[in-house]
C-alpha cells in the first residue's frame, strides 16, 4: 500500500523531477566555458593536488605497497565528494524553494531527491576519469567491477537519508548550514580517504570502521584495488547502513514536513 502510493506519486511527479534535475544541470554549466567537462576535470585536479601533498609532503603513498596511491585516493574522493555535495545541496533545497512551497502544493521530498539525483548523475560522469586513472596506472579491471553498482546504490540511498534529515533540520535551525560545513570537513579527515586505515592506532580502528562512508569506500576499494569479491559481511553492512539511514531520514522528514511552511 505504502509502496504503491510512492509509485503513483513518482509517476505523477516524474516530469517535475526530471525538470528540476535538468534545471540544475543547465544552471550549473551555463556560465562556464568548459561546461560539463568540469565534472570530469574537477575530481582529477583535486586528486592531483592531494596526490602531490600526501605523497610528497606526508609520504602516505610509501605506506601503500602493491597498490596505486592515485587510484586509492580517487576512489575515496569520488565517493566522499558525492556525499558531501549531495547532502549540502539537499540541505538548502527546501529553504531555497521556500517561495515555491509557499505558493503551490508540491510533495516536498522532491527537492532533496532531485538534488541527490543531480549530483548522482555527476558522480556517474566522474567515473570516467576514475576508470581512466585505473587504466593509466595499470591497476586494471576485473570481473568484480560488475558488483560496484551495488555500493553506488547504497551510497545514493544513504546520501538521500542524510539529505532528508539535514533538509528538515535546516528549515527549523538555519545554523545547521555552518555546523554541517564543519561536520563535513571533520568527516573528510576522519574517513580514510587520503591515508590508509592502518595508520590509525589499533585501538581506534574499530571506531573508524563505524563510519558508514568508510564501509562504502572500503567495499569499492576491495574490488578496484585488490581485485577481491567483498565479503558477504560487507554487503550486509553497506546495505543495512543505507537502509537504516534512509528510513530514519524519511521518517523525520515526513513527520515534520507540514510544519516547514511556517518557517520558510
Amino acid at each position: 500500500m505504502f509502496l504503491r502510493n510512492i509509485y503513483l506519486n513518482m509517476k505523477q511527479y516524474r516530469f517535475l523531477l526530471q525538470q528540476l534535475v535538468s534545471r540544475d544541470f543547465k544552471v550549473k554549466y551555463k556560465r562556464s566555458v568548459l561546461g560539463v567537462v568540469w565534472s570530469l576535470l574537477y575530481p582529477v585536479l583535486m586528486m592531483t593536488v592531494m596526490y602531490m601533498v600526501f605523497s610528497y609532503v606526508f609520504r602516505f603513498g610509501d605506506l601503500m605497497t602493491g597498490i596505486s596511491f592515485p587510484v586509492y585516493l580517487l576512489t575515496g574522493l569520488v565517493m566522499f565528494n558525492y556525499i558531501s555535495e549531495a547532502t549540502n545541496l539537499s540541505m538548502s533545497s527546501i529553504v531555497a524553494s521556500g517561495s515555491l512551497i509557499n505558493k503551490v502544493y508540491l510533495p516536498k521530498y522532491i527537492f532533496p531527491l532531485s538534488k541527490c539525483l543531480f549530483v548522482g548523475i555527476n558522480l556517474l560522469l566522474t567515473l570516467i576519469p576514475l576508470y581512466l586513472v585505473i587504466l593509466v596506472t595499470g591497476t586494471g579491471l576485473n570481473i568484480y567491477h560488475l558488483v560496484l553498482p551495488f555500493v553506488f546504490i547504497c551510497l545514493f540511498l544513504f546520501a538521500l537519508g542524510v539529505s532528508f534529515l539535514l533538509a528538515t533540520i535546516a528549515v527549523f535551525f538555519r545554523d545547521m548550514f555552518y555546523i554541517y560545513g564543519i561536520i563535513t570537513m571533520l568527516w573528510m579527515y576522519l574517513t580514510p580517504i587520503m591515508y590508509p586505515i592502518q595508520m590509525i592506532d589499533d585501538r581506534f580502528q574499530p571506531l573508524f570502521r563505524l563510519n558508514p562512508l568508510f564501509q562504502f569506500i572500503d567495499f569499492a576499494r576491495e574490488i578496484i584495488l585488490y581485485g577481491n569479491m567483498p565479503s558477504l559481511r560487507s554487503f550486509i553492512i553497506c546495505g543495512a547502513c543505507a537502509l537504516i539511514m534512509l528510513v530514519t531520514g524519511m521518517f523525520v522528514f515526513k513527520k515534520n514536513q507540514d510544519k516547514f511552511i511556517y518557517y520558510l
Partner: protein
Amino acid sequence: MIKVDDVSMRFNLGIEKNFSLKLFFINLFKRKEKTEKKEFWALSDVTFEVGKGEVIGFVGRNGAGKSTLLKIVAGVMKPTKGAVQTHGKICPMIELGAGFDMDLTARENIFLNAAVMGYSKSLIEEKFDEIVEFSELIEFLDVPLKNYSSGMVTRLAFSISTIVDPEVLIVDEILSVGDISFKQKSEKKMKEMIHGGTTVLFVSHSLTDIKQICNRVVWLENGRIKKVGGKELCDEYEEYMTK
C-alpha cells in the same frame, strides 16, 4: 466541489523565523512564561461550500485572512482545525511565476513551470506554441528570464497558467498583468475560462472586477466570515470601508 468545513488557522508569532541557537540558550535560562508563544488566529471557524461552476469573490481588509484561506484550499498549508475537501484539478494562480528560474530561458522555464503546476510533458509539448503565442514573447524565447522586464515575466507566467482548463482556479490579485492591451487580453481569457464552467475562487481589492466576475461574495473580517451574499455585498463593503 469545494467544501471548507470549520477551518481555523493558527500562527505562532513568537517562534516565527527567529529561532536560533542564541535564543535557544537564552530561553533555556529564562522562566517558562516569558517564552510563551504569541498566537494569532488568521482564520477561525470558516465554513462555506462552493458548487461547480460558481465564481466566488473574497473581500476584506489586508490581513483579514483571504490569502491564507486560498492557500489552505490550494493545499499549500494544512489548517490547524477543520478540513477542506476539494474535487478536481486545482490551478493556483496565487503568485505568478513562483517556479521560474531567472537563469533559464523562457523556453526552459515554460517546461519547468508547467511541471511545477503539475501538467504532463505531452500536454505542455502540445500547448507550447499556444503559450508562446499568447504571451507574444516569441522573439525573446531563448533569452534568460533575468533579462526580461517584470511585466514580460508575469505575461509569460499568466500564459502558462491559463493554458489548461483546471476544474478549480484560485486567483489572488493577478488581473493587473502587463500593459493595457495584455491586461484586456488576460481578462478576456479569464472570463472565457470562467464561462467555460471552471470553479473560481477570486481575491481582489478591485470591487469592479469582483462585481463583474463573481456571482457570490464572501466578506472576511479578522479571520471570520462576516457576511456572505451576492454582488450587492460589494457596495455594502465599500460603504463600510470608506466610512
